[in-house]
């Protein structure tokens, strides 16, 4: 039995190993994607905190002075004092100092290094075929973890002994790294597999009526513009939304020219799971709330999938779990290298002399 498990462990590692290394290495980078993105675009990513934050109308006016005639698609509010507000235009995402109105710059849409990393992690940057390969590689990783635990159990090696490069060193390295990364890697592999098979799972469990959240008020189409009437401002729309959800902070304001209604997205900062899944839709002419989607109304399936995603991205416990996810991903190449060395040495000992 042990020999069979070892041979299967070897065979699956050789088949899926390279893809699992891609998943691990790219996953380590993606665990800190927002931070890395800011690091790579420092000039448009930081502001010096000031005293008074400008209103959305004032920020919109500052953008209009720089890019006249270009309508605002949405406002993205800063979630930290030293990070700028952003304004979405058709040309790209404009970073604005929310204390002074200074335009820091514009990020145009298109593929970047982090986009390539994400494409590699999700689909090997190779469309449907790549996505399929990675789905099964994640399943292979699950098998490697379980079979690895079975193989590790009798000796239970947790320390690295032997001189650097010796057979004992490689064996102990593979055993120790394997057991210490077992639980976080199991969590990442299992959550990744659930994400990869999300649609199939949904078809088994039954798709929820709304894939984002639950409507607590019936949606209505916004009323038509009236003669001599003026639209409410984005600041007024935010104030209306905050009256509906007083403890939540608005982080995104979609303008009515793009979608028909003001859509204010709000986040409960103290809720780790689905805290940002609230939105209030407001008629721009009457100021009436026509729909509200609240995280509190999410069903079990949606909460489960949201929690699963938070586990996979490492965001579930904040920075600590992001660091754990990144380090775990980096250990995958170590396991791959030590595993290959062990396999090559094993082959050599089998060669007839």
């Amino acid at each position: 039995m042990r020999r069979l498990v070892l041979n299967l462990h070897l065979a699956i590692a050789l088949l899926a190993g390279a893809f699992i290394v891609v998943l691990g290495a790219t996953g380590s980078i993606l665990a800190f994607e927002p931070q890395l993105d800011r690091l790579l675009h420092r000039d448009v990513s930081y502001v010096k905190p000031g005293v008074r934050v400008l209103s959305l109308v004032e920020i919109g006016d500052a953008v209009a002075r720089k890019y006249p005639g270009e309508p605002v698609v949405a406002y993205l509010r800063s979630d930290a004092a030293d990070l700028p507000n952003r304004v979405i235009l058709s040309r790209g995402i404009v970073s604005v100092n929310q204390y002074t109105g200074e335009i820091l710059g514009v990020r145009t849409r298109g593929q970047t290094f982090l986009g390539v990393v994400r494409a590699l992690h999700v689909r090997l940057a190779a469309g449907e075929a790549g996505r399929l390969v990675l789905k099964w590689a994640a399943d292979g990783l699950l098998f490697l973890l379980i079979s690895g635990l079975y193989l590790w159990w009798p000796a239970k090696r947790m320390r690295i002994r032997g001189s650097m490069g010796s057979p004992k060193f490689w064996f102990d390295l593979h055993s120790a790294v394997g057991i210490f990364s077992f639980l976080p890697l199991l969590a990442l592999a299992a959550s990744g597999t659930i994400l990869a098979f999300e649609d199939q799972l949904a078809s088994v469990l039954g798709k929820p009526p709304d894939s984002h959240s639950v409507q607590v008020k019936p949606p209505q189409v916004g009323s038509a513009p009236r003669p001599n009437a003026t639209e409410i401002t984005p600041d007024e729309a935010v104030a209306i939304a905050r009256r509906e959800l007083p403890d939540a902070l608005p982080y995104r304001v979609q303008m009515p020219g793009y979608g028909g209604l003001y859509v204010i997205a709000l986040e409960y900062m103290d809720h780790r799971i689905a805290g940002d899944r609230n939105s209030v839709s407001i008629d721009p002419w009457s100021g009436r709330i026509v729909a509200a989607k609240l995280a509190a109304g999410l069903g079990f399936q949606q909460r489960f999938m949201t929690a699963n995603q938070a586990i996979h991205t490492g965001s579930i416990l904040g920075t600590a779990s992001r660091i754990a996810a990144a380090l775990t991903g980096l250990l995958v190449p170590v396991q791959a290298v030590s595993g290959v060395v062990l396999w090559l040495r094993r082959r050599r000992t089998w060669q007839p002399t």
Binding site: A74, S90, T112, R118, V122
Partner: protein
Amino acid sequence: MKKGIAAFVLIALSALAADLTGNWSGSFTVEGGDHDVPQRFTLRRQGKSLSGSGGPDAGEQYPIENGSVEGNEATFQITTGEWKFTYHLRQLSADRLAGDLKLESVNDSRTAKVSLTRVQGD
């Protein structure tokens, strides 16, 4: 004779293109994705320019930007927020449009296949 055929083809193509005005519905499938995303457009053609709106359904519509028509091919863009959608569609028949879609956000770029049919009775 050849000139006559060429003129007929040109007239036929321009007639097809003129038919772009109206309501269209269908879906796109992103390369590497495994489900369809619904689409609904209201197109208005004026000469070589194309305007109107589009989105996932009739209730959620975004303005068409940079729309143009050349022969039986239409190109336009829609900005929904972080994502910008650039469509290159070809009119295959009076009631069918199909083509490519490029989806771009900051950091990301993907492609998709689009298929639309005219909404009857609108």
